[in-house]
């Protein structure tokens, strides 16, 4: 046994290209796994610890505005109401609780919302629901101030807080007036240290501590800047008195945490009274869109950011492992075929099949020993940039990197076990044949039915064509494996084509259609005609029914919430289809335009119908077009028509898309408008934020796809090498007969070329559908859909790339071909 193993070990040197290929494949698989998981697991571990130790909220909410009691109107007594508002309040005093019309209630709610008074409504109902669903909640207030691209959020420090406790990194929490603790990352990036003075709005503060104060993974500065930017976003923790003096826009909401063990992946909490139609959240609240956004951001961030990476890399690593197993299978099989006589002799002199087969375990052993170890260190090295991308906006204390048993088994034991089983199984099946069969002379090898049939079909073809195909079809198993491996290569190349630069492209495309700078949302409904801006009337609503163009109802399980957006003729927002055709003219009373994301996720097409309940009546809309937006869940409706459906006599708006510079600085907006503004959303900042947010995902995709291309090359190299190896005798004979190397190369090295091309062509739709399936599955988590497609040009480029890889592989193998001795054919078997 040991002698046999030693013999197999020595034989490795003669198969340099093949063993190097195995090592590289395993190294790539391990590198990818370690690089992504080392980063992800550290963030994930830190994340879960942080959630528990700091009692991070599970969700936040703003109480409903649906039910307003007559006593609640007293909360408005000390507010400086406008004439219209005062009139509405007077009307409400007469009609509450049950006799108010919908427009009065709509205005009343907007007044409560504007003065940030929702948190004082419906306390008893909230307590009842909290008891029933087992959560605690407490008021969270903060003030936001912007200064250019800097965002400062002031939060009062209360050491008795139950939820969202700050995590102190260094120094102390602020106790005295004008002392602040600031975000650790912000301090680091901006070279701030404890004891430094820091000035905001002409007020000097002393930094006494650095800390983390993340809402879930990263701190949410404001609804309009949901993605964290460590360089420009800072949170000041300060005592109550300093907070009171801090000048900024105040927001109040409730942070809540469920009492019992919380299951992060269980989404059932989304339904029911906490968020659903019966309870706290108002369906018609103006801020609903952004409230939903918070809800999504806080609870699902881990899934949005980490799960896709994990799923993608784990799946990919398994594919790589499978490819490695197939390659090892080919190599072991080839090796035994070459050593058939030797194996026959060993069996003839009494060695058992299992003893001989065991010697072929040298391939997985050497492959794992070198490949996985190499991959491990390369992975740790590559994980560093990824970790730095993550921590730049994840603002969490990260634990040190540790190799766990799970890691060890995934990196070393799983590949070793899998590849050892494959190698042993193949070797055993081959060497268990009787010695006399193994000792049989080569010319006596049977020709299978497939090869004979192909020969018959091609009998009128030129001799070289027949010769080529007779070699290709001589073993159906081998042909299948070559085709499969080529298919893998094709899949990897296609993945490379799909993935490379995909995110940048869809971002450019999406934001390219947005020529405005700011989205200004109002806490009331306006009917003036601001001609220089694009005006929208936005409401959140749920789709109540979907019907296909042919009349069949489309089933859907989960509630689909969309933004019904009334629009007329926007100047700055391009609503175009994939061929850049303007879709706005298609809008009519019932004709709507939906986003690509909405269409893709729900399999909706043009002419399908959507139904919405508005003011207790169901309304039908027909999809007249699908516009290119991969992020939004928007349904565009004619604004005039939408206004009338919601009971407005005038055509109103509550959102404005503007290019006006005044919205960059709240100080430049006049008081009257400022009072009505719910939020200002900088689209360019959002673009930058989203870009930085998906940087990590892009980085992973970039690594994966680049490695995929490298793997495709390695696989092609192995195929070319195996072709040369298995045809040594034929090549030698042809050389003896006087065929030139070029002619031999043309005939023998090209035998699988048509199959490689065929396999590549098949791989394109397979990979497109596979990626589509994965991304559709992940779409809910990552928050946008990705159009997966390949142009004909890309397809051709991919084909050229795979053929170049193959011919480069052949180029390497030609050296082997040239070295094949002429006397090889003269050797007696």
């Amino acid at each position: 046994m040991s002698l046999l193993f030693l013999n197999a070990l020595k034989g490795l040197w003669q198969k340099k290209i093949q063993i190097i290929a195995i090592i590289l494949l395993l190294a790539i698989a391990t590198t990818l796994y370690v690089a992504t998981n080392a980063a992800v697991s550290r963030v994930e571990e830190g994340y879960y610890d942080y959630l528990v130790e700091q009692n991070v909220e599970h969700f936040s909410f703003v109480p409903t505005l649906e039910k307003i009691d007559i006593d609640d109107l007293d909360l408005l007594d000390d507010k400086d109401l406008t004439d219209d508002e005062a009139l509405t309040v007077q009307q409400a005093r007469l009609c509450l609780p049950d006799d108010c019309d919908s427009q009065t209630m709509l205005f009343l709610r907007s007044i409560f919302s504007r003065y940030n008074l929702q948190v004082y409504l419906n306390k008893e109902e909230i307590d009842e629901i909290a008891d029933e669903y087992g959560f605690i909640y407490e008021l969270t207030k903060s003030k936001l101030r912007t200064d250019g691209n800097k965002y400062y959020k002031a939060v009062p420090y209360d050491e008795d807080r139950l939820i969202n406790k700050p995590y102190l990194v260094s120094g102390d929490f602020p106790k005295a007036d004008n002392e602040v603790a600031i975000l650790s990352n912000y301090a680091q990036v901006n070279d701030l240290a404890i004891g430094d003075e820091y000035e905001v709005n002409e007020q000097k503060y002393e930094i006494v501590g650095t800390m983390f104060l993340s809402d879930y993974i990263y701190p949410i500065m404001t609804i309009s800047t949901p993605f964290f930017d460590e360089e420009n976003n800072n949170i000041f923790l300060m005592n109550e008195a300093t907070y009171e003096k801090f000048s900024g826009t105040e927001s109040k909401l409730f942070s809540a945490r469920l009492d019992e063990e919380y299951e992060f992946r269980n989404r059932s909490y989304r339904k029911g009274p906490i968020f659903g139609e019966e309870g706290i959240m108002s369906e018609e609240a103006i801020s609903m869109n952004t409230e939903n956004f918070i809800r999504l951001m806080r609870v699902d961030t881990i899934q949005a950011d980490i799960e896709p990476n994990k799923i993608f890399t784990n799946a990919f690593v398994n594919v790589l492992l499978a490819i490695s197993a197939v390659i090892i299978l080919i190599i072991v099989k080839k090796r035994i075929e070459n050593e058939k006589n030797q194996v026959g002799i060993l069996k003839a002199i009494g060695y058992s099949a299992s003893a001989i087969a065991s010697s072929y375990l040298v391939y997985p052993l050497i492959g794992v020993l070198f490949g996985c170890v190499l991959g491990y260190f390369a992975g740790v090295f590559l994980s560093e940039p990824l970790i730095s991308v993550y921590v730049s906006y994840y603002n969490l204390p990260l634990p040190d990197y540790q190799i766990t048993w799970e890691y060890f088994s995934r990196i070393f034991l799983l590949p070793l076990g899998l590849l050892a089983i494959v190698s042993f199984a193949v070797a055993f099946l081959m060497v268990k044949k009787p010695p006399l069969f193994l000792l049989k002379e080569g010319s006596n090898l049977k020709v299978n039915f497939l090869a004979r049939s192909v020969n018959k079909i091609l009998r009128r073809a030129a001799f070289r064509t027949r010769f080529k195909y007779s070699l290709a079809f001589r073993s159906f198993g081998k042909l299948l494996i070559v085709s499969l491996v080529s298919l893998f290569s094709g899949l990897l190349i296609t993945l490379f084509m799909i993935g490379n630069g995909l995110f940048t492209e869809i971002l450019d495309q999406t934001f390219g259609n947005m020529k405005f700078d700011h989205i200004v949302s109002y806490n009331t409904f306006l009917d003036d005609e601001a001609e220089e801006d694009d005006l929208f009337l936005n409401f959140e609503n749920n789709i109540s029914k979907m019907v296909a163009a042919d009349g069949t109802e489309i089933d859907f399980e989960e509630e689909i919430t969309v933004t019904l957006s009334g629009v007329d003729t926007p100047q700055y927002m391009k609503i175009v289809d994939e061929e850049e055709n303007d879709l706005v003219p298609k809008l009519g009373d019932e004709n709507i335009i939906i986003s690509y994301r909405l269409a893709e996720l729900n399999n909706l097409n043009k002419d399908d119908r959507l139904y919405f309940e508005i003011n207790d009546e169901e309304h039908k809309f027909i999809i007249a077009g699908i516009y290119q937006d991969y992020f939004a869940r928007t349904v565009f409706v004619d604004r005039e028509y939408l206004s009338s459906l919601y009971g407005f006599e005038e055509t109103v708006y509550n959102v404005k898309y503007s290019v006006d510079d005044k919205y960059r600085d709240t100080g430049a907006i006049d008081e009257d408008e400022l009072d009505k503004i719910e939020g200002i959303f900088s689209i360019r900042e959002l673009e930058e934020n989203i870009k930085s947010e998906i940087e990590a995902f892009d980085y992973v995709i970039y690594i994966i796809t680049t490695f995929a291309a490298v793997m495709a090359f390695i696989i092609m190299l192995v195929i070319a090498n195996v072709i040369v190896e298995e045809n040594r005798k034929n090549i030698s004979l042809m050389k003896v007969l006087g065929y030139k190397n070029r002619e031999i190369g043309d005939i023998i090295l090209n035998i699988y070329t048509p199959f490689i091309i065929f396999a590549y062509l098949i791989s394109i739709p397979i990979m497109i559908n596979l990626v589509k399936f994965i991304l559709d599955y992940l779409a809910e988590d990552i928050g946008f859909v990705i159009p997966v497609q390949i142009s004909i040009f890309q397809g051709v480029v991919g084909l050229i790339a795979i053929l170049i890889a193959y011919y480069l592989g052949i180029g390497f193998s030609r050296r082997v071909l040239n070295k094949i001795s002429l006397s090889e054919a003269l050797k007696r078997e």
Partner: protein, 231 residues
């Protein structure tokens, strides 16, 4: 008769301890059958490799007609084999995926007047045209190999233990076919073997040992008969 091969002081040394050919001088006449006899390791296969252009001598000259082979490039030697040389091996070396007909076609490396059907008929292989090697007997496979070497109408056929894998009866048939080819087409045939009984068909017998020619003689009766035929 014209010399097809002239070897002068040919040496082939693999390393100091392994001298395969040690100063061989030999002349082979066109149209004769030469049998090279010798035990294993005597240098007979190396001699065949050097003559057929499969290998270069370390020193000395190997002339094919007037042309020196020892200083030709590998490409030129390939052309020489392509054009003028046929091979027959002990283990047939047929392509298992090609039929008997196609295996013969494989040997037709350039266009000539040779008709494969005619050659198959001559080799008694007409019935086996569409059979694959695994469906043929050892004798039939060796006849396919002979037919493959004939199809290019070569000047010379080199045979490496052509009957080594065959029983005596079938081996005899194969040797008869070789004689027939030599007789009908004046093809020079060089046979390397350790089987002394094959020497019976030779015009010239060359005995080798330790890389040297230790004995060389003509089978006078056969030579005379041959000369008579060729006049």
């Amino acid at each position: 008769m014209l010399n097809i091969y002239t070897l002068k002081n040919v040496k082939k040394i693999y390393n100091e301890r392994n001298v395969a050919l040690d100063g061989v001088d030999l002349q082979i006449k066109k149209g004769e059958i030469v049998v090279v006899l010798g035990p294993s390791g005597s240098g007979k296969s190396t001699l065949l490799n050097v003559l057929s252009g499969l290998d270069y001598p370390t020193s000395g000259t190997v002339c094919y007609y007037q042309e020196e082979l020892n200083n030709k490039s590998a490409e030129t030697l390939a052309e020489y084999r392509y054009r003028d040389v046929g091979f027959i091996f002990q283990s047939y070396n047929l392509m298992p995926t090609l039929t008997a007909f196609e295996n013969i076609e494989l040997g037709k490396t350039h266009q000539n007047d040779c008709d494969i059907y005619e050659i198959m008929q001559k080799m008694d292989l007409s019935e086996q045209k569409d059979k694959y090697p695994y469906q043929l007997s050892g004798g039939q496979m060796q006849r396919v190999a002979i037919a493959r070497s004939l199809v290019k109408n070569p000047e010379v056929i080199f045979c490496d233990e052509p009957t080594g894998a065959l029983d005596e009866k079938i081996g005899k048939v194969v040797l008869e076919k070789l004689q027939e080819i030599n007789r009908d087409q004046h093809t020079t045939i060089v046979i390397v073997t350790h089987n002394p009984s094959i020497a019976k068909i030779a015009h010239t017998v060359v005995k080798m040992n330790s890389g040297k020619i230790v004995e060389q003689y003509s089978n006078k009766k056969r030579v005379a008969a041959a000369e008579l035929r060729w006049v």
